[in-house]
């Protein structure tokens, strides 16, 4: 039996740093490995559709004819299963807390046509990094890729007719 058993803890809390953040003035740094939105490295994607078939919620759509890969962020539950099935390992998660969005939009990625495998190997030998956007443009021009690739080389994932959307999930 006793009284005021929580006293020391409560008193101690008076002199400690607060446990909460003053959101939105302070925000938390997302830890490495946090689940976040699915990003497709469009330069490696071969539009095979494995991710679309694997996705539990049907969030991904792959259009081979139109050369687009799209994801509905409102259906994606960030389970990461698509990442594990992708044969080219081009999907990844961007550690990131979702901001609020104003509209429901489907994120569409235009996938450029890829040079023939032999050519791609030669590019790799030259040390062209798929992620380095500046080098990529030059490589694309060298490899004689179609204009779509050059257009997409800024790394922008075009968002339907509405253009880029920073607030997308």
């Amino acid at each position: 039996m006793g009284f005021f058993k929580l006293g020391s803890m409560t008193m101690g809390s008076l002199f400690k740093e607060p446990s909460t953040l003053r959101y939105p003035f302070e925000t938390k740094e997302p830890p490495a490995g946090l689940k976040g939105r699915i990003v497709n490295d469009k330069d490696s994607c071969i539009l095979c559709g494995a991710c679309m078939r694997a996705c539990t919620t049907g969030a991904i759509a792959v259009d081979r004819k139109g050369r687009t890969w799209s994801i509905n962020p409102y259906r994606c539950v960030q389970c990461g299963y698509c990442i594990t099935v992708c044969p080219k390992k081009c999907l990844s998660m961007n550690p990131h807390y979702s901001e609020a969005a104003r509209e429901k939009k489907i994120r569409i990625v235009n996938v450029p046509e890829h040079p023939k495998p032999a050519r791609a190997k030669a590019d790799a030998a030259k040390g062209v990094d798929a992620g380095a956007k500046a080098g990529e443009e030059a490589a694309a021009a060298k490899a004689g890729q179609k204009a779509t690739a050059v257009k997409d080389a800024e790394g922008a994932e075009t968002n339907g007719a509405a253009g880029k959307d920073a607030a997308e999930n």
């Binding site: 039996m1 803890m9 409560t10 689940k35 960030q78 990461g80």
Partner: protein, 362 residues
């Protein structure tokens, strides 16, 4: 002798984190009978097993419940592994145990906070939830999610722990333990808590067993039954395991059992982290469960024993997946415990069985 009246309790009620409805038949201030009614949040998840293949269903299984998310994905994956005869690497089994015990810690501290809130001890509620946040942070750093983790797959787990993460976990758990030990003094020794819980909602051991109760509700009545003591899967690697029991069977006993189970879970995590073996974290699973094959599995969820059953049909889609959740086992016990109690104690009693209606209704 007063007149009998029916007081509806729930599905929306300040002490209820999830919707359950009780018709309380009261006479004066005493509950004569309690008739539970569920079915407010049925989502038909079991049926989904026929449209999602056995790998995809892991992600459905873990959404059965937010608090025992890890337990359900593990329980389901183990059932399918039994069905297909898959041997999971030891490291993956250890990791599963670690994350499952962390879920128990976060579930019990969440519950302790809710219990404190139910008996009106707001600062205790805040402290319990503040501590729980530390566990959620560990989850976030090790699995990438705070509540839904998606780290289990059929054949193992999808993420590994590196040395840095293990050190980080050890230091957080050491801090957590120190603060938690202080926190439970308020639950176990404070007279205001005892006044509200000792001798309230008592159920005898014989009744608890006859009504098929499970989990801390059963153990608080003195029956030493816990699935972990069967030593299946990763739990077989533990040096020693003894269920925590209490023989009083009242609300206080249920609080005490849960308070101590958190410490026990922390011990298990420490032991598992200390002897985590090297090796693979998953094996490749190919093929599909054979037609007509059946498997079952038991998992000790934070709320008690959960039973899983799966039946294959030769395709990647299972024929049947069934879960019997701890709360559905405990509802009969809850109705029995409520008989004869004061109306003012109903919320404490309902809360001390820790009902998880999302699991129950799936």
């Amino acid at each position: 002798m007063g007149k009998q009246t029916i007081i509806p309790f729930g599905p929306q009620h300040p002490v209820l984190p999830e919707p359950i409805h009780l018709d309380l038949v009261v006479e004066d201030e005493t509950v004569i009978e309690a008739v539970p009614q569920i079915g407010f949040i049925h989502r038909g998840l079991e049926r989904l097993v026929q449209t999602k293949d056995y790998n995809q269903f892991v992600y459905v299984a873990e959404r059965i419940c937010g608090i025992c998310a890890f337990g359900h994905s593990m329980g389901y994956a183990e059932t399918v592994e039994n069905l297909m005869g898959v041997e999971v690497p030891t490291r993956a089994q250890y990791l599963r145990v670690i994350w499952h015990e962390m879920s128990r810690v976060h579930s019990h501290t969440l519950w302790l906070g809710l219990a404190a809130d139910a008996f009106g001890f707001e600062s205790l509620f805040m402290h319990a939830w503040r501590l729980r946040e530390k566990i959620l942070d560990v989850f976030e750093r090790t699995t990438g999610g705070r509540v839904i983790f998606s780290v289990v797959k059929v054949g193992g787990v999808t993420r590994d722990l590196d040395d840095q993460q293990i050190d980080y976990m050890k230091s957080v758990f050491a801090d957590f333990r120190a603060e938690y030990t202080k926190l439970i003094r308020a639950f176990l020794d404070d007279s205001s808590v005892k006044n509200r819980t000792v001798g309230v909602g008592t159920i005898s051991r014989a009744d608890a067993v006859n009504l098929g109760m499970v989990g801390p509700f059963l153990r608080a009545s003195g029956e030493p039954y816990d699935v972990r003591m069967l030593g299946s899967n990763g739990y077989g690697e533990l040096e020693h395991f003894e269920p925590i029991t209490d023989d009083q069977g009242d609300c206080y006993a249920r609080i005490r059992v849960r308070c101590e189970e958190v410490l026990q879970a922390l011990d298990i995590i420490d032991e598992m982290l200390a002897k985590l073996p090297a090796g693979d974290i998953a094996v490749k699973v190919k093929g599909a469960p054979k037609a007509g094959s059946e498997a079952c599995n038991l998992v000790e969820q934070p709320r008690g024993e959960c039973y899983y059953y799966a039946k294959g049909n030769g395709t990647k889609y299972l024929d049947r997946m069934r879960m019997r959740t701890p709360t559905s086992q405990n509802l009969a016990g809850m109705a029995a415990t409520l008989k004869g109690c004061d109306v003012a104690d109903v919320n404490m009693i309902v809360l001390t069985i820790d009902p998880c209606i999302s699991c129950t209704e799936r």
